[in-house]
Amino acid sequence: MLKQYFIELLEKDKREDGRKPFEYRDVSVETGVIARANGSARVKIGNTEVLVGVKLDVGTPFPDGPESGILMVNAELLPLANPNFEFGPPSKDSVELSRVIDRGIRECHAIDLDKLCIKAKEKVWMVFVDIYPINDDGNLLDAGALGAIAALKTTVLPKYDEKEEKVIHKELTKTKLPLVHSPVMTTFGKIGNNKFSDSTMREEKAIETRLSIVTTEDGNVSAMQKGGAGMFTADDVIELIEKSAELGKKLRKLVPSK
């Protein structure tokens, strides 16, 4: 029923809220919204709202990267944002959400993790990015990814006491997290043969499949993920890569440049 309704609208190049297929709802990015966090952002896409906080700590590097800082992305899908979310261990959706956003940042080397080494094999900075949806009206992927990169852009390192070998969390330095790229994720839904961006919750209920594409400043692709039990053709994918670069350029303007 809902599906048929959306197909009819999309075939006329329309959406139920008056948007064009590849038009986003109003997007806003606010940074520095959490005093205790080392970096933070609130992203709103229409009625979808996501809060992202970055916390830094010092830990032992992984054996396969003894001189590399550590990035950890996590999403907490609390029933606060959507009554269908459940308390308890992370659901498949929250694991996918955080891992897809993680790879979007990691795979294009957005953060220069090699600059986050304090003492090789022993101490490196650990960057924890935690994504908390506050209200889910669809497209948490794009909102979370945009929030993550905005929060990271504004992240400053806390003081590290070399003698005591510990972090003084309350004292912030002026050193920013070394960021090299601004990857932006855009997610496309598909109903029937119709593709569109920025699904609302109602549209998400009707979509057969989605494709998330992460692009960097130069328009190259740094990550992709298909989700949902539907299908895309190779031509769909190429078309959406182009759209993603185009839409990504606009969204990137909302991320603080420094």
Binding site: K92, R99, C108, L211, N220, K226, M231, I238, A245
Partner: protein, 244 residues
């Protein structure tokens, strides 16, 4: 991608470290019906990567909260045996395996007449016995054949391969050093008869033209895999039909 301690070069004199050409797949072997208890089963060997898959069902949905009155509950569980990796892999679900299980279910569902099994569960268990990259795609190849072996009604099989880029070159079917130290990894699955993509993941860095070429390369390899899958099914069922 990336990491330390990798080989200096992944391509030497135009050949990969295991002697393959860029567009050459590792040898793949498919066996159908390897677990007598299961309704359907298969084992896929892809170079050193080995996966065993069992399908149980259609059966009652347990727990009941997973019941879907409109279509089957496709319960896919991907796991890695503790001894399958260089460093022991702690058994049980991880964040990685949870995500892979989900994308595999999304890759297989379009091939199954899900609405025919409304209110029922189809369980697909895939265990990696030995891992040398390409485990999720090998698991999909095994699962699709095991589903057919279980007599689940399907539109098509599902064929899958992971390609990527290493030393600046696009290449088919990455093995471990290329997966660990190369630049791009892109697992893909298609329904071979309609060429529809049912699994697509990518990480690394690709231009649009490279992405296009890599998809084409993978799709071609999927055609070869499809032939191997059909052959494996015929090995089990072909003779039965002739004797009828």
């Amino acid at each position: 991608m990336g990491g330390v301690g990798g080989p200096e070069k992944l391509i030497v004199n135009g050949k990969r470290l295991d002697g393959r050409k860029l567009n050459e797949m590792r040898e793949m072997e498919i066996k159908v019906g390897v677990i007598p208890n299961a309704d359907g089963s298969a084992m896929v060997t892809l170079g050193e990567t080995k996966v065993i898959c069992a399908v149980y069902g259609p059966k009652e949905v347990l727990p009941r909260r997973n019941l879907d009155s409109e279509k089957a509950f496709l319960n896919c569980v991907y796991g890695m045996a503790s001894f399958s990796t260089s460093e022991r892999n702690r058994p049980g679900p991880s964040r990685r395996s949870t995500e892979i299980s989900k994308v595999i279910a999304d890759a297989l569902a379009p091939a199954i007449f899900m609405e025919k099994y409304a209110g029922l569960e189809i369980t697909v268990i895939m265990e990696i016995i030995n891992a040398n990259a390409g485990t999720r795609t090998a698991a999909i190849n095994a699962a699709s054949v095991a589903l057919a072996d279980a007599g689940i009604e399907m539109r098509d099989l599902v064929c899958s391969v992971a390609s990527g880029k290493a030393d600046g070159q696009l290449m088919l079917d990455l093995f471990e050093p290329e997966d660990n130290f190369g630049e791009v990894d892109m697992p893909l699955a298609i329904l071979p008869n309609t060429k529809q993509i049912t699994l697509l993941q990518m990480d690394g860095m690709l231009t649009k033209a490279e992405a296009k070429k890599l998809i084409e390369m993978s799709m071609k390899a999927c055609e070869q895999i499809y032939e191997l899958q059909k052959k494996a099914l015929k090995e089990k069922y072909g003779s039965e039909k002739e004797s009828e």
